[in-house]
C-alpha cells in the first residue's frame, strides 16, 4: 500500500507531495476519529484488528504486560521481530508507544511492504508503525477533557478440587492428607476487583503562522491480582512556527512520561501454579509467627498469599524531544534538518520475602538508554504538465548509549523491611552486582526517486545503505534497494464511463530490508569479561574470560520481499476493498546454532546461515450499507492468511559444517516432574512452519493395572517399543501460529447515538493444554491440587503426548462501546462545542472450542511460551468503562 495522506512523519513528509497524487485507499491507516469512538488506554488496542496482517497480542494480563506486535508474521528467528515505532519522527519502541495517551494520537500508519519500509532501512525490516501526535492548528483555541472510570473483574478461573473433594481424593489414594480444616479457593484469594481511572486534558490553539498543543494525562489502573497497580503520568507538547516568510517552518515537540507499576507477581507461572494447585484445606490467615504455613510436599509452589508478600516495582521515566527545521528553499527545493534526543530509564526494585525465597532477595537496578538521532533530507520536486517528479536524499546518524547497574542482596533476617533498605540482607554475592555500558551506532544514506504521470502511473525507486557498529569491518554496511509501481486504473479515460466504480488501483513492489535485531553488542569481537572469583596465589581475584563464541563474520540478515495488491471502491465509496499478496524470503538468517565443542569453545554460535519464507494474502473490506443524515452503518473486516516455512538451517562456517539438529525444541513444560527429559512441546523443524507441535501420539487412555489410567502411546516408528525421544515415536501435529487472522470493526450510528464493536479472531493453529496435563495427573496429589474432573478420569500419568493438544480457533469480541454525543443548544455551543458520553465493555465474549482458560495465549512470538498453556495464564477478565469527552 502506498503511503497514506495521513503519513506526516519524518521521511514521509518529505515526499508528501509526491504521494498526495496517489491517494490511498489503504486500510492501513487508523485515524483519531476511529480511535476516539472507543475508550482505550493503550494505543495498540486502538489498532488491534483494524489493519490486516498486524497481530497484536498481550503477553499476559499482567498490569504492565507488554504487547507483542507482529507485522506480517515472524520473519527472523533470533530477534528484531518487533515493528519499528516512529512517534513524530523519533524512533521509539513498543514500550514508548504504550505510554502515550491515545487521545494525543492523530493517526497510525502501518507500513508493511519493503518499498514502504525502505525509508527506515534495517530498523523497519519487520514493519513500521508511524504515529503522529496531534498538533495545534490555525483555529480557535480549544480545551478538551477526556476521562473514564472503570472496573475490571475476573469472570473465569480453573475449576480445581474444593477442600471436601480434595480430602476424599487424597484419602482414596492413600496419600498423606494434611487437612487444615478450611476450604479456600486460592485463585480467588489472590484476586481483587480492579478500579481504573483515566484523565486527560489537551489545550490546543494557534494562529496563521504558528500553532501549539499541550496535553497532560494521568492513568491509575489496578490489576485483578492483589497489589497490581499502574500509574502513568504523561505530558506531550508540540508547537510549530513559520519564519522568514515561508522559508522556514520550525516544529518542536517534547514528550515525557513517568510510569510506575507495582505487582506481587514476580513469576507469572509460579503465581498461578501456586494459586491453582495449593492445598485447598489451608486457611488465608497468617500463622502465629506472622508467616505462612508451608506445605512441604509441594516444593515447586508456594503459599499463594506468601507470594503476595513479594513486591516488584518498575518505574519507567521517559523523555524525548525533537526539533525539525524545514527550509522551503525554492519552489522546487526543500531542505529538512531533524534532530531528536530521548532518555529512557527503567528502574526495577524487587523484594522476595524469606517465605518464598531462601534467605530472601532484594534487588535494585537501573537501565538507561540515551538515544541521539540526526538527519538531513534534501528534496527536489517538479511538475511539468502531467509529469511529477520528486527526488530525495537522506543522511542519518544514530547512537544509543545503554548504561546500567544492578545489585542483589540475600540473607535477610526480617521480612519487615523490603526493597527500600536492601542492606537488610547480609549477603551480597559477587555475581549479584554489576554494571555495563555499550553504545552501538547506526548510519544511513538513502536516495529516493519518485515519478508520477497524470496520477495514473507512478514509480518509486529507493536505494538505502545502512551501517552498524555491531558488525566487523567489511560487514558493517548493508545495501537495500527497493522499487514499487502503481497503476491507478480508475483514472484511465476508459474507466470514466463506469459509474459504479469509483476507484481501482494496482500496485506492485519488490525490495530488500536488513535486520540485526538478533545481534548483541560486540558479538564479532573476542573480548574478556569479568568471569568470577578464583583463588589466585594468596589472594582472591576476579578472572577475565571470553564467555561466548565470537563470530567476526556476522553480517546483516536480509529480507527480500515481493508484494502486489489491488484495491477498488464501488458505489460511491460505499464498498471499499483491497487484496494484497506478499511473499518474503529471509536470507542470511541469523540463528544461534548448537555447535560442537570442539572446535568452538562454547556450544552456541550465532551465524548468518539459513533461510525462512513468509507469504500471505490480506483481504480487506469496508462496507457502508447505510449512510443517511440520521443513520450510518460501517462494517470493516480484514482477513489475513499467513504462511511460514523454515527453509534451511545449515551451511558452512569457514571449514565447519553447521547444521541445526532435525528438531530443535522451543517451548518446554515446567513444574513438578517436568524438568528436562521429553517435555519439549513446540519445536522448530526445517521444512515446517516456525513453531510446530512435535509430540508422541496418544491413542487413548489405557489401564495402569491399578485402577487408574495412563496415556497409551503409539509406536509410530514401528520399532516394536515406545521411545518418545526426538526422531523416534513423535510426529508433527499442528502449528502454534494461526494460519488465518480476522479483524472486524462494526460501527453504527443513529442520530447522536453510536455503537462500535471490535471483533478479532484467529484460526488454524493449536494450543497445548499443559495446564490440563499437569492438573489431570492424579499422581500429583496430595502435594498439588488437581482439576475438579480429575478424580473421575483417574489419570496417573504426566507424559506429554498429543492428548492435550487442542484446536486454538477463536473469535473474540474485544469491546463494545455505546456512545452518546449530547446535542447542545446553540447558546451552549458557544462554550462547549462537544460533549460525549460512552460506555465500553471489554472482552465481552469469546467463542472457542479450547478447553483451557482462554485461547488467547502467546501464539505469535517465538519465545518460551509459544503455543503452550502451562499454568501461566492470567484469569479471564471483563472490564466496564464509563467515559466522558468534553471540548470547550
Amino acid at each position: 500500500m502506498a503511503l497514506s495522506a495521513m503519513g506526516l512523519s519524518l521521511a514521509a513528509q518529505n515526499i508528501h507531495r509526491a504521494d498526495t497524487v496517489a491517494r490511498s485507499l489503504s486500510h492501513d491507516v487508523v485515524t483519531a476519529d476511529q480511535v476516539s469512538q472507543q475508550q482505550v488506554t493503550n494505543p495498540l488496542e486502538a489498532i488491534n484488528g483494524r489493519v490486516a496482517g498486524v497481530t497484536i497480542q498481550k503477553s499476559n494480563n499482567g498490569i504492565a504486560a507488554m504487547n507483542a506486535v507482529r507485522v506480517r508474521g515472524t520473519t527472523s528467528v533470533t530477534g528484531g521481530n518487533d515493528p519499528l515505532i516512529i512517534i513524530d519522527g523519533v524512533f521509539g519502541d513498543l514500550s514508548t508507544l504504550s505510554s502515550i495517551y491515545p487521545s494525543d494520537i492523530e493517526s497510525f500508519t502501518v507500513l508493511k511492504d519493503a518499498s514502504e519500509t525502505a525509508q527506515y532501512g534495517s530498523r523497519g525490516a519487520s514493519g513500521v508503525i508511524e504515529v503522529v501526535t496531534k498538533k495545534g492548528a490555525a483555529q480557535r483555541t480549544t480545551v478538551t477533557y477526556n476521562g473514564s472510570v472503570g472496573v475490571t473483574h475476573v469472570i473465569k478461573n480453573l475449576d480445581m478440587l474444593n477442600a471436601a473433594a480434595y480430602r476424599s481424593a487424597v484419602t482414596r489414594q492413600g496419600g498423606m492428607l494434611i487437612d487444615r480444616g478450611y476450604d479456600t479457593d486460592w485463585q480467588r484469594a489472590i484476586q481483587q476487583t480492579a478500579f481504573l481511572q483515566d484523565h486527560h486534558i489537551a489545550f490546543m490553539g494557534g494562529g496563521e503562522r504558528s500553532g501549539y498543543r499541550v496535553s497532560l494525562g494521568y492513568m491509575d489502573h489496578q490489576g485483578v491480582i492483589l497489589h497490581d497497580k499502574l500509574r502513568n503520568l504523561t505530558s506531550n507538547m508540540n508547537m510549530h512556527q513559520r519564519m522568514f516568510g515561508d522559508l522556514l517552518n520550525i516544529e518542536v515537540g517534547m514528550f515525557g512520561n513517568v510510569q510506575k507499576d507495582m505487582t506481587a507477581v514476580y513469576d507469572v507461572q509460579k503465581t498461578f501454579y501456586s494459586a491453582q494447585a495449593w492445598n485447598p484445606t489451608f486457611g488465608t490467615k497468617r500463622n502465629s509467627g506472622g508467616g505462612w504455613d508451608g506445605f512441604t510436599l509441594s516444593n515447586q509452589i508456594n503459599h499463594p498469599l506468601a507470594l503476595m508478600d513479594s513486591r516488584t516495582q518498575n518505574k519507567i521515566t521517559h523523555l524525548s524531544t525533537h526539533a525539525k527545521l524545514t527550509f522551503d528553499l525554492t519552489r522546487n527545493w526543500t531542505l529538512t534538518l531533524f534532530g531528536a534526543y530521548s532518555h529512557n530509564e527503567v528502574e526495577i526494585a524487587q523484594f522476595l520475602p524469606t517465605s518464598i525465597w531462601s534467605g530472601g532477595k532484594g534487588y535494585r537496578s537501573s537501565a538507561k538508554t540515551e538515544s541521539w538521532l540526526g538527519n538531513a533530507t534534501i528534496a527536489w520536486d517538479k511538475r511539468v504538465g502531467a509529469h511529477h517528479l520528486n527526488v530525495m536524499g537522506l543522511a542519518e546518524v544514530e547512537r544509543d548509549v545503554h548504561t546500567g547497574f544492578y545489585t542483589t542482596t540475600t540473607g535477610f533476617s526480617t521480612d519487615a523491611i523490603g526493597l527500600d533498605a536492601i542492606q537488610s540482607g547480609s549477603v551480597t554475592l559477587w555475581d549479584g552486582t554489576g554494571s555495563y555500558r555499550n553504545a552501538p551506532s547506526l548510519a544511513s544514506f538513502m536516495g529516493r526517486f519518485a515519478y508520477d504521470y497524470d496520477s495514473r502511473y507512478s514509480l518509486t525507486a529507493t536505494m538505502r545503505a545502512d551501517g552498524s557498529s555491531k558488525f566487523g569491518n567489511g560487514n558493517k554496511w548493508g545495501f537495500f534497494p527497493s522499487i514499487s509501481a502503481t497503476w491507478n486504473i480508475g483514472r484511465e479515460a476508459m474507466m470514466h464511463e463506469v459509474d459504479w466504480l469509483d476507484d481501482l488501483k494496482w500496485s506492485i513492489g519488490y525490495g530488500l530490508a536488513g535486520n540485526l535485531g538478533g545481534v548483541d553488542n560486540y558479538m564479532t569481537q573476542n573480548l574478556l569479561s569479568p568471569a568470577g572469583i578464583a583463588p589466585v596465589g594468596q589472594r582472591l581475584a576476579v578472572t577475565f574470560d571470553e564467555l561466548r563464541n565470537a563470530n567476526p563474520d556476522l553480517k546483516w540478515e536480509v529480507k527480500r520481499s515481493f508484494n502486489t495488491g489491488l484495491s477498488a471502491a464501488f458505489l460511491g465509496n460505499r464498498i471499499i476493498t483491497s487484496v494484497d499478496f506478499y511473499t518474503a524470503k529471509t536470507c542470511d538468517m541469523l540463528y544461534l546454532y548448537n555447535v560442537g565443542v570442539p572446535p568452538f569453545g562454547y556450544n552456541k554460535l550465532l551465524d548468518n546461515l539459513g533461510s525462512m519464507r513468509n507469504s500471505g494474502v490480506e483481504v480487506a473490506l469496508g462496507l457502508t450499507p447505510l449512510a443517511t443524515r440520521d443513520m450510518e452503518l460501517n462494517i470493516n473486516a480484514n482477513v489475513a492468511y499467513q504462511y511460514n516455512k523454515l527453509l534451511s538451517l545449515s551451511g558452512y562456517y569457514n571449514d565447519y559444517w553447521l547444521e541445526a539438529p532435525g528438531e530443535v525444541d522451543l517451548v518446554n513444560l515446567n513444574g513438578a516432574g517436568f524438568h528436562g527429559g521429553n517435555n519439549h512441546i513446540v519445536y522448530q523443524i526445517v521444512g515446517q512452519p516456525l513453531g510446530v507441535f512435535y509430540l508422541p501420539h496418544c491413542t487413548g487412555l489405557k489401564s495402569d493395572g491399578m485402577g487408574g489410567y495412563v496415556y497409551d502411546i503409539a509406536d509410530l516408528d514401528g520399532s516394536g517399543d515406545v521411545n518418545i525421544a526426538n526422531g523416534k515415536d513423535r510426529r508433527v501435529c499442528g502449528q502454534a501460529m494461526p494460519k488465518v487472522l480476522l479483524g472486524s470493526n462494526i460501527n453504527f450510528r443513529y442520530r447522536q447515538w453510536d455503537v462500535t464493536m471490535q471483533i478479532n479472531g484467529a484460526f488454524g493453529h493449536k494450543i497445548y493444554n499443559g495446564t490440563a496435563l499437569t492438573y489431570m495427573n492424579m499422581n500429583s496429589l496430595p502435594g498439588y491440587n488437581v482439576l475438579a474432573d480429575a478424580p473421575e478420569r483417574n489419570i496417573h500419568d504426566q507424559t506429554a503426548t498429543d492428548y492435550w493438544l487442542e484446536r486454538g480457533d477463536y473469535v473474540n469480541i474485544d469491546y463494545v462501546t455505546l456512545g452518546w454525543n449530547v446535542p447542545l443548544s446553540q447558546r451552549l455551543q458557544r462554550t462547549v462545542s462537544r460533549l460525549r458520553f460512552s460506555l465500553t465493555m471489554d472482552d465481552l465474549l469469546t467463542v472457542t472450542g479450547y478447553s483451557g482458560l482462554t485461547p488467547m495465549i502467546n501464539s505469535s512470538s517465538a519465545g518460551g511460551t509459544l503455543g503452550v498453556d502451562d499454568k501461566n495464564v492470567y484469569p479471564v477478565t471483563r472490564s466496564y468503562y464509563l467515559g466522558v469527552t468534553v471540548t470547550f
Binding site: S358, G596, P598, G601
Partner: protein, 546 residues
C-alpha cells in the same frame, strides 16, 4: 532530466564519501570489557586470566558445569547410572520426562545432559589450549620469565579433563589448538587417548611443586604434583578398560602385560599404579583421624585430601547440590535450608552397608540419613507436615514410587558432608570444600593394583585395613571382591562408582530395579553417546550401539 541525473549523481558521490568517514562513527569501543591482548601481559595476569577461569570452572553453578557439586553433569552420570544411588520418581516429583529412570536403566540415548557434559569438558580442554597459547606467546616475548609451572598446570588440567571425557565417552579428539581444524578434531581411539593422557601427566609432573592443593595459601585449589600423581594412579588402574578399543567384544587387554616407563624405569601397569600411590605416601599424605574430617565445613586441613573444589559462601559461585537434592523437604526446612527430596541410596548400597544387620558399617550414619531424623544440635526429631516424625525407609526404594506409601520417604539420603547452617541459596552455597581426590582412595587403589598383580598378602591386607580401622571396622582379607565392597563403603557418593563397576566388569549386569538391556551385555553402555554436533563437526561415527 539531465538536471535530475546530475543531482542524483551528486547525492550518490556525497553518500560514498560519507560512507568512508562514517566508518569512524561506526567503531564501538567497548568500555565494560577488555580486549584479549591486554589481559595476559605479566606472569600474574596469566595466572589470573589464562588459568583462573579454568580453575573457577572445576566447580560450577549451572547444570552440567563442574566436575562435581552441580546437577546433570559428570557426577550424575557417574553416580545415578550405578548400583550406588538412584533418583526414584516420586509422584509428580522427579519424573522429569523420564531422564532419571533412563539414566538408571542405562538408556543413555535418552539422557539429554550427556551432550551438555561433553560440552563442559571440552570447553575446558579448549580453555587449556587457549591458556597454553597465551603462556607460550608470553614466553616468546619475555625470554627471562619462567613459565614452566604455569605451562605444567595448563597441561595437567587439560589431561584431567581429557581423562574424565575419555572415561565417560571412550573416544575423544586430541588437539592442541584453540581453534582446531576438522582433521585435528577426529576422534581418537580410546587406547591412543589413554596413552596420550598418561604421557601428558608424566610430562607435567616434575614442573609442578609438591604442594598441598586443598590448603589455603598460594596453591589452594591448584594443580600440584600430588594431584597429577593421583591422576596417574587412577588412569593406570583402569588401563585394561582404557586400552580396549573395542569394548563390545568381551575381550580386554591384560594390564600385567602392558609396560610403562616411570621415572626412567620399566614396570607393568599395576607396579606403576603402586609406584604413584607410594609417592603420595612418601610426601606425607595420610588418613585423617576421623572419617568426617574430610567432609567438615573446615575440611581444608585434612591431611587426606589431595584435590578439592574450593567452596565459600561469599567468594565463589560453586554450588554443592548433592545434599540439597537428596534431603526430604521437611528435613532441610528444619535446618533452615531447602531441599528437593530426590536422590537416595539403592537397596544394593544398603545391603553393602549392612543396614539393619548386626554387621552394620560404622560409616552408614556418616554417609546416609536413615530412619528417624534428629537435628544434630538440638536432638529434636524432624517432623512431617502432619506432625508425625519424618522416617526415611531405606529398603522401600523403587525406581518409580508414585502412589506408594513411601513416595516421599523411601530411600536413605545423603549425609557425608557436614551440614553448613550458614549456607546460602537454598543450602547450595556452603563452605565444605568438595572432595575430588583423597588418600583413602590411594590406599585402596594400591591394594587393588597389588591384587591384580598377583601379590595378595599381608601388605595388601594392611592397606585395606588401614581404611577399615579408622572407622573401627574389623579387618578383612584383601580380595578384589572385598576391595570393591570397601570402595562403596568408603567412597560412596564421591563419583567413582561407575568407574569402579566398569573396571570390575559389573556395570552392565542387572541389579535391583535394573534389568540388563538387550545390548547392554555386549558392553556398549560403558561409554556414553557423543553429541551429534561434535560428530557433525568432525565427520566421525557415533560410539557403537547408539
Amino acid at each position: 532530466m539531465k538536471q535530475i541525473a546530475t543531482i542524483y549523481h551528486i547525492l550518490l558521490m556525497a553518500s560514498l564519501l560519507a560512507l568512508g568517514s562514517c566508518n569512524q562513527f561506526l567503531e564501538d569501543e567497548p568500555t565494560d570489557r577488555i580486549p584479549a591482548d591486554e589481559a595476559y601481559n605479566t606472569l600474574s595476569d596469566l595466572q589470573l586470566n589464562a588459568l583462573g577461569p579454568i580453575y573457577r570452572n572445576i566447580g560450577g553453578s549451572g547444570d552440567s558445569q563442574g566436575l562435581q557439586g552441580t546437577a546433570r553433569g559428570v557426577w550424575d552420570l557417574n553416580t545415578f547410572s550405578t548400583d550406588e544411588a538412584i533418583i526414584p520418581t516420586r509422584g509428580a516429583d522427579w519424573y522429569d520426562g523420564g531422564i532419571w529412570q533412563n539414566l538408571f536403566l542405562h538408556r543413555f540415548g535418552n539422557v539429554d545432559f550427556t551432550g551438555d557434559t561433553w560440552n563442559y569438558l571440552f570447553k575446558e580442554v579448549l580453555a587449556c589450549n587457549r591458556a597454553l597459547e597465551r603462556i607460550n606467546a608470553f614466553a616468546s616475548s619475555h625470554a627471562g620469565e619462567d613459565v614452566r609451572h604455569l605451562r605444567a598446570e595448563a597441561r595437567s588440567l587439560r589431561a584431567m579433563f581429557l581423562f574424565y571425557a575419555m572415561d565417560l565417552y571412550g573416544r575423544v579428539p586430541l588437539f592442541t589448538a584453540s581453534s582446531p581444524t576438522v582433521q585435528e578434531m577426529k576422534l581418537q581411539d580410546r587406547s591412543v587417548a589413554f596413552r596420550h593422557i598418561v604421557s601428558e601427566l608424566q610430562a607435567a609432573e616434575y614442573d609442578l611443586l609438591n604442594e598441598r592443593s586443598p590448603r589455603h595459601g598460594e596453591y589452594y585449589g591448584r594443580m600440584t604434583r600430588p594431584v597429577v600423581q593421583f591422576l596417574l594412579a587412577k588412569v593406570l588402574l583402569n588401563a585394561e578398560v582404557y586400552a580396549d578399543d573395542d569394548w563390545t567384544d568381551d575381550f580386554r587387554p591384560d594390564g600385567s602385560a602392558m609396560m610403562w616407563t616411570v621415572d626412567g624405569e620399566q614396570m607393568n601397569t599395576w607396579q606403576a599404579v603402586e609406584y604413584y600411590c607410594t609417592k603420595l605416601q612418601d610426601v606425607g599424605y595420610a588418613l585423617a583421624e576421623e572419617f568426617g574430617d574430610n567432609f567438615s565445613i573446615n575440611n581444608e586441613e585434612s591431611p587426606e585430601l589431595i584435590f578439592t573444589i574450593p567452596m565459600d559462601i561469599y567468594d565463589y559461585a560453586n554450588r554443592f547440590t548433592q545434599q540439597f537434592r537428596s534431603l526430604h523437604y521437611n528435613h532441610a526446612a528444619a535446618l533452615g535450608l531447602n531441599a528437593e527430596n530426590g536422590p537416595c541410596a539403592t537397596i544394593e548400597a544398603m545391603r553393602t552397608f549392612g543396614y539393619g544387620t548386626d554387621g552394620q558399617d560404622f560409616r552408614l550414619f556418616q554417609t546416609y540419613y536413615t530412619d528417624e531424623v534428629y537435628l544434630e544440635n538440638t536432638f529434636t526429631p524432624v517432623t512431617l507436615d502432619d506432625g508425625s516424625p519424618l522416617v526415611y525407609y531405606p529398603m522401600e526404594v523403587r525406581l518409580d514410587l508414585s502412589n506408594s506409601l513411601y513416595e516421599t520417604t523411601a530411600g536413605a539420603r545423603m549425609h557425608k558432608y557436614e551440614i553448613d547452617l550458614a549456607a546460602m541459596s537454598d543450602g547450595q552455597l556452603r563452605r565444605n570444600d568438595i572432595v575430588l581426590f583423597r588418600y583413602a582412595d590411594v590406599l585402596l587403589m594400591r591394594c587393588e593394583a597389588m591384587l591384580r598383580d598377583g601379590r595378595a598378602g599381608a601388605l595388601a591386607d594392611e592397606l585395606l585395613n588401614q581404611v577399615r580401622r579408622r572407622v573401627s571396622m574389623d579387618d578383612r582379607t584383601a580380595t578384589l571382591e572385598s576391595v570393591l565392597e570397601e570402595r562403596m563403603l568408603e567412597l560412596a557418593w564421591e563419583g567413582w562408582r561407575r568407574n569402579d563397576l566398569i573396571r570390575y566388569g559389573r556395570f552392565t549386569l542387572a541389579y535391583t530395579d535394573r534389568p540388563q538391556l538387550d545390548a547392554d551385555v555386549k558392553g556398549y553402555t560403558i561409554v556414553f553417546p557423543i553429541p551429534g554436533e561434535t560428530l557433525t563437526a568432525c565427520g566421525c561415527a557415533q560410539n557403537p550401539g547408539y
